[in-house]
């Protein structure tokens, strides 16, 4: 028994090492004074300073934030509507919409990017930050819808009935009872959508026009051309940002009141 446990623990720790070593090494070397070598040449913050002075990079960050906020807003609004519609309003063709809604979650991302690009080409919308935003909203909508719907499904349907029984109109029942109970899931999924939008490369790659460079596009072109300590520094910052975003998303989702 204990030997088996030790073996399991060893294997698990090895997995964690595999998962974390590259990231830790990466961050560690962002403080390395040497530009080229993989050996330690002393501590420096100069790569971070260089990043702060890179105007193209800062513009890309701004673009990413813009796209992230706009697409999250759209995706959250539509996603909540879709979730409520699918869960509470019976209508014909519900199964079909459900399938279509889940599709972006399962098809390869490359395909998602390609099809959106074709679509914009066909309707003659020039590729820009707007098309990127639409693309991001498209793949984030199902994520919001799925999370919110899961929460909605767990809600006791008699709660809305109770509100109605106590004199609330259908809208009041939704507004005063259902929506507050959904709020943690909505905020959590919005935060998740925002994170995904900030990180997305592939769909952006296919739907971004010239000049519409987001942070991941910038990182990609940096990574392709060379290995530099600046990228390490940038990566370190990105790791920190996604970790804090996800942490807050988890906190939000955990805070939701449960009744089961």
């Amino acid at each position: 028994m204990s030997r088996r446990r030790a073996w399991l623990l060893g294997a698990s720790l090895a997995d964690l090492l595999f998962l974390y070593a590259p990231i830790v090494v990466l961050i560690f070397f962002s403080f390395n004074a040497s530009r080229l070598s993989a050996s330690w040449r002393g501590f420096t913050l100069q790569w971070y300073r260089l990043l702060a002075e890179d105007h193209a990079l800062l513009a890309a960050v701004q673009n990413s934030l813009l796209v992230g906020l706009a697409s999250t807003f759209v995706a959250t609004l539509l996603g909540v509507c879709a979730a409520v519609g699918l869960e509470r309003v019976p209508f014909k063709g519900r199964k079909l919409v459900e399938g279509a809604l889940l599709l972006p979650l399962v098809i390869p991302e490359v395909m998602m990017g390609v099809s959106l690009m074709l679509f914009f080409a066909l309707v003659k919308v020039p590729l820009s930050l707007v098309t990127v935003t639409i693309g991001h909203a498209a793949f984030n909508l199902p994520i919001v819808a799925v999370i919110v719907r899961a929460r909605l499904r767990k809600l006791d349907p008699t709660l809305e009935e109770a509100a109605r029984d106590l004199g609330a109109t259908a809208w009041q029942a939704f507004r005063r009872v259902t929506l507050p109970l959904l709020m943690p899931a909505i905020l959590g999924s919005a935060l998740m959508a925002f994170t995904i939008s900030l990180d997305d490369f592939i769909v952006t790659f296919f739907t971004a026009g010239p000049g519409a460079t987001t942070l991941p596009l910038k990182v990609y072109s940096m990574v392709r051309s060379s290995v530099t300590p600046e990228i390490n520094a940038l990566s370190a910052i990105l790791v920190l940002v996604s970790m804090s975003l996800i942490a807050s998303s988890l906190v939000l989702q955990r805070k939701s009141p449960t009744q089961d």
Binding site: L159, R164, D165, Q172, P180, P257, Q259
Partner: protein, 365 residues
């Protein structure tokens, strides 16, 4: 029950292919504690939901205070429902839950505070008014649900298995408390339950339903003493039955010949309405009304049948026996431990079952 406060007229409700409620007509008087009793699937919850407005009758009509409820949505009905699992809003405090209905009707804030305070005192929850439902015990949640409905002063309070989620002891306490609250507020209560003892304890009148149909309406005593059918009798807890035929009629009494027993003995019983000589009947007997004796003819009981003890179970407050009258007719008899030197019978022992004519219920078929 001076005037008809709630009236159901020939209400029919289908759920897909099943007939959930089948031509139900009921009248409930003002201020009455009325229970609808039946096993699960009897259609009682559907009836309650139609009263609350969550489901619409396919046929018939529901009138509350003489007004048809056909076009009235739940939020405009003068009724409030205590949900089976309470359906307390988990994001609102006790006080917030109770105030919800008053807020929806735009009652002035000062009055809301006042009324919520009064009702909190009534259900003894004022110290816990700022708690969330998840922080309350089952009994406390039940009282919040009750207060949340009562604070609106509905014309009718509907209760869906109000004590179903509570444990046995709490259930007994709450039966008494619920009845006391009802008497205090004077509101009409319509309560749905599958628990016969609960219905009999709390109600002024009880309706027994099965398969969507109304089987009998009456006071607890009427239901218990003179069940109208075998189903009602069984559901109320009368488990012993015997088929027979009326041999002779003598004013209010009759002699019933037990056709299933060897020697076809005759038994004295009360004559059921509408029956005469030759009518086939079923004789019903409550387990706790039977006497057992090992000696023959020593007492003045009206009826006596020989039998054999097949099982004896000690359960603290009494003895429970299974008594075989023949190979395939076994009755139950319950004897209380009223004294410590009471005679105990052993399995296999021959006994005589005795009872008086008044204790039996005769159903004509």
């Amino acid at each position: 029950m001076t005037d008809n406060h709630v009236e159901l007229r020939d209400v029919v409700k289908r759920h897909g292919a099943t007939l959930a409620v089948d031509g139900l007509s009921l009248e409930v008087g003002r201020g009455e504690f009325f229970s609808i009793l039946g096993p699960s699937g009897a259609g009682k919850t559907t009836t309650l939901r139609m009263l609350a407005g969550f489901e619409r009758p396919d046929q018939g009509d529901i009138l509350i205070e003489g007004r048809s409820m056909r076009q009235v949505p739940p939020n405009h009905r003068p009724v409030n429902l205590v949900f089976q699992h309470y359906a307390l809003f988990p994001h609102l405090t006790v006080a917030g839950n109770i105030a919800f209905g008053l807020e929806m009707r735009r009652v002035p804030t000062a009055e809301i505070q006042d009324r919520v305070g009064t009702i909190l005192d009534m259900v003894k929850l004022r110290p816990k008014q700022d708690r969330l439902p998840a922080q309350l015990s089952g009994g406390e949640q039940q009282r919040v649900a009750l207060a949340r409905a009562l604070v609106n002063r509905p014309a009718v309070l509907l209760l869906d298995e109000p004590l179903g989620a509570l444990d046995q002891q709490l259930r007994l306490d709450m039966q008494v408390e619920l009845k006391a609250i009802q008497e205090q507020v004077g509101i009409t209560f319509i309560c749905v339950t599958h628990h016969q003892e609960e219905a009999l304890t709390m109600s002024d009148r009880v309706a027994v339903m099965n398969h969507g149909r109304l089987l009998q309406v009456g006071s607890p005593q009427e239901i218990y003493e003179t069940p109208a059918s075998l189903f009602v009798a069984n559901f109320i807890g009368i488990s012993n039955s015997l088929r027979g035929r009326i041999d002779r009629v003598d004013e209010a009494n009759c002699l019933v010949r037990a056709v299933d027993l060897a020697g076809q003995p005759t038994l004295l019983a009360r004559l059921p309405a509408g029956a005469g000589e030759g009518s086939p009947v079923t004789l019903l007997l409550r387990p706790e009304r039977l006497c057992l004796s090992s000696e023959v003819r020593r007492s003045s009981y009206d009826n006596e049948l020989p039998a054999r003890i097949s099982k004896a179970i000690y359960n603290g407050s009494g003895m429970q026996y299974q008594v075989a009258l023949s190979d395939d007719l076994v009755w139950a008899a319950r004897l209380s431990n009223s004294s410590s030197n009471q005679k105990r019978f052993l399995p296999g022992e021959a006994v005589f079952i005795r009872w008086n004519a008044d204790e039996g219920v005769v159903l004509s078929e």
